[in-house]
């Protein structure tokens, strides 16, 4: 008998732990020709904002060693267009839609979440408080108190399961995660991109139109794994691991380190059908550990020894 793959994030039940990350899968319809999107554990469509945004000037991405720098700038048509055009499609899929939102203020986040709460098509809401390419939203992911207050404000107006997507560009990510939990988050998505840049030294110019951007892809996987481990040690709510996941080994590493589910991001760009392959490979990987359910392996990491506390925070609360 194959192992059970289902997991829960708050009241949201996912058929399996393979999700796709915001900004890397469009609004799902774009991928429907290449991917059986209904098989996914969940779909996080591209982040929406209150008003439409044109996004940043090109170049918007630059490839780096085993990684991708982006400064797209939340190019989207706004929440009205999303609700009108994309939500009906997402709602008819077998996979729950975890709608990613970004606001400039606490009020904007709260209003958007309250509005989305009214729709059955919305499975959960992910608060993007970690996009490095726009001013505003990222501030909520840096200071624990501000983060807690934002989540509490949204929580009061939102009946859907709430995820906080965190930035790694902080000294102690577990502190921010703990604050999100205190504010009422049902789960933590970690991590968003690492702030970086690329330079053309011959022209003496930055390569990205927005000068700096967020680094993603295989290059950041060890950082993401460390963040997920630290957060999972600290909070009781589920953690969704994100960051450079592209192989079944990556998936299993995140689960063992404490993630309840994972989101596939940049790998969708260079391997559009990757999520389907990972789903196919999952049962054999669980069987290799003799696990009857995925629950048995989540957070099953056994540290060799207790690492010493350091500037990025004690690994254990």
């Amino acid at each position: 008998m194959s192992a059970s793959l289902s997991v829960e994030i708050g009241s949201l039940r996912l058929a399996n732990p393979i999700l796709v990350a915001s900004g890397t899968f469009g609004y799902a319809r774009e991928m429907a020709g290449m991917v059986d999107v209904g098989r996914l554990g969940g779909i996080v469509p591209k982040t929406i904002t209150q008003a439409p945004r044109a996004g940043n000037a090109p170049w918007r991405t630059v490839e780096t060693t085993a990684g991708l720098l982006n400064s797209i700038g939340l190019d989207n048509d706004g929440i009205d267009a999303f609700i009108e055009h994309h939500l009906p499609y997402l709602g008819q899929l077998a996979s729950p839609a975890i709608v990613s939102i970004a606001g400039r203020t606490s009020e904007e986040f709260t209003q958007m979440a309250a509005r989305l709460s009214q729709y059955d098509e919305v499975g959960a809401i992910e608060l993007n408080i970690s996009c490095p390419n726009v001013s505003g939203g990222v501030d909520f992911g840096i200071c624990p108190e501000t983060c807690r207050d934002l989540i509490a404000s949204v929580r009061a107006q939102c009946t859907k399961p709430l995820l906080a997507k965190l930035t790694p560009n902080v000294a102690r990510i577990a502190d921010v995660a703990a604050a999100a939990e205190e504010g009422g988050a049902d789960g933590i998505s970690a991590i968003n991109t690492l702030l970086g840049m690329a330079v053309d030294w011959r022209r003496q110019k930055p390569l990205l139109g927005n000068v700096m951007g967020g680094l993603s892809g295989p290059a950041i996987k060890p950082v993401a794994l460390r963040c997920v481990y630290q957060i999972a040690q600290r909070v009781k709510i589920p953690v969704i691991g994100i960051g450079g996941i592209g192989t079944i080994d990556d998936v299993m590493e995140f689960l063992v380190a404490g993630a309840t589910a994972v989101q596939i991001g940049t790998a969708n760009f260079n391997d559009p059908t990757v999520s389907m392959r990972l789903l196919d490979q999952m049962p054999a990987a669980l069987a290799e550990l003799g696990a009857a359910s995925i629950q048995e392996i989540i957070g099953s990491l056994q540290p060799k020894s207790q690492p010493a506390p350091n500037v990025l925070g004690s690994p254990v609360a």
């Binding site: 044109a54 996004g55 190019d75 892809g217």
Partner: protein
């Protein structure tokens, strides 16, 4: 915003694309730093049309990480004329193309496509194709199609025809001219210019275009691909002479399938404003007058 009914803004999507692991059949040098690579992919080859592209990367590699968009050069066929695979022509320019140039037959590539809208198929008296450097890659297939030598697409698309096809091909120097014999073999009238005068006209490809337009009668249409400044000049000439012109944009891409929003270009809207359009799915072929060249 939302000027067409499709909320995804693009009538063309990756909804007919397939992702395949293919093996290199051959990889031959055509000119300095310029190669033609061939791989088998029957279903993709049967459906791709001129001006469409594929994303291509080296299988199982994380550096280089992303695929590169490469236009279909031509479809290769078996003795019965059935599509077997495609050829793409590339200029060695960066990390991936440097590695690609060293690929031997049998090496595995990851490919997805066909992608993008491709050139429209229309009836014209005279099609003038203007290519700068490696921008020549979509024009063998386009010329063959318009001259009625080969049909592309599944079902084979109808409607593209021209009494005459001229290719204005500009390169840095003679050693960079690639595939000239392929163009001539399918009946295309090839005019050449080089920056250094080592072959053909010593000057700009737009000089060739102006001469071709001077010699042409009514029913002429331009298809253009090359460096942005060259395409801007061609667009200006087309506008001055009131000749319809299609340009194939080459903005950097990460995914090729419309999900990453990297490859945007400023495209004019009907109301006079501009919006960022993704060249991978909303292009790469645009009417030249729609482009805001900046």
């Amino acid at each position: 915003m939302n000027e067409n009914c499709n909320p995804l803004h693009a009538p063309y999507y990756a909804d007919h694309a397939v992702q395949l692991t293919v093996e290199v059949v051959e990889n031959v040098q055509l000119a300095r730093d310029t190669y033609r690579i061939r791989f088998a992919c029957p279903s993709l080859a049967a459906s791709i049309t001129p001006g469409q592209f594929v994303m291509l990367r080296l299988a199982d590699m994380q550096d280089p990480l992303l695929g590169r968009p490469l236009a279909m050069y031509d479809v290769y066929r078996d003795a019965d004329g059935a599509a077997v695979g495609i050829d793409v022509v590339y200029l060695v320019h960066g990390k991936l193309t440097s590695k690609l140039a060293r690929c031997a037959p049998g090496q595995r590539l990851e490919v997805w496509g066909p992608l993008g809208n491709g050139f429209p198929g229309q009836q014209v008296d005279h099609l003038i194709m203007v290519a700068g450097g490696i921008g020549q890659t979509p024009f063998v297939a386009l010329g063959k199609e318009y001259l009625g030598r080969q049909a592309y697409g599944d079902p084979p698309r109808q409607g593209a025809s021209a009494g005459k096809v001229t290719m204005c091909y500009g390169a840095r120097s003679a050693e960079y001219l690639a595939g000239v014999e392929d163009f001539r073999a399918c009946g295309i009238d090839v005019k050449i210019s080089t920056d250094d005068g080592s072959a053909g006209h010593h000057g700009l490809v737009t000089d060739l275009l102006n001469a071709a337009l001077d010699a042409s009668t009514a029913g002429v249409q331009i298809a253009c691909c090359g460096p942005e400044r060259m395409m801007e000049s061609v667009a200006t000439i087309a506008a001055q002479r009131n000749v319809p012109c299609w340009v194939s944009l080459e903005t950097p891409m990460a995914c090729g399938i419309g999900i990453c929003f990297t490859c945007v270009a400023k495209v004019r809207q009907d109301d006079g404003s501009w919006d960022y359009k993704r060249t991978c799915v909303e292009g790469p072929i645009f009417a030249a007058e729609k482009i805001d060249w900046e």
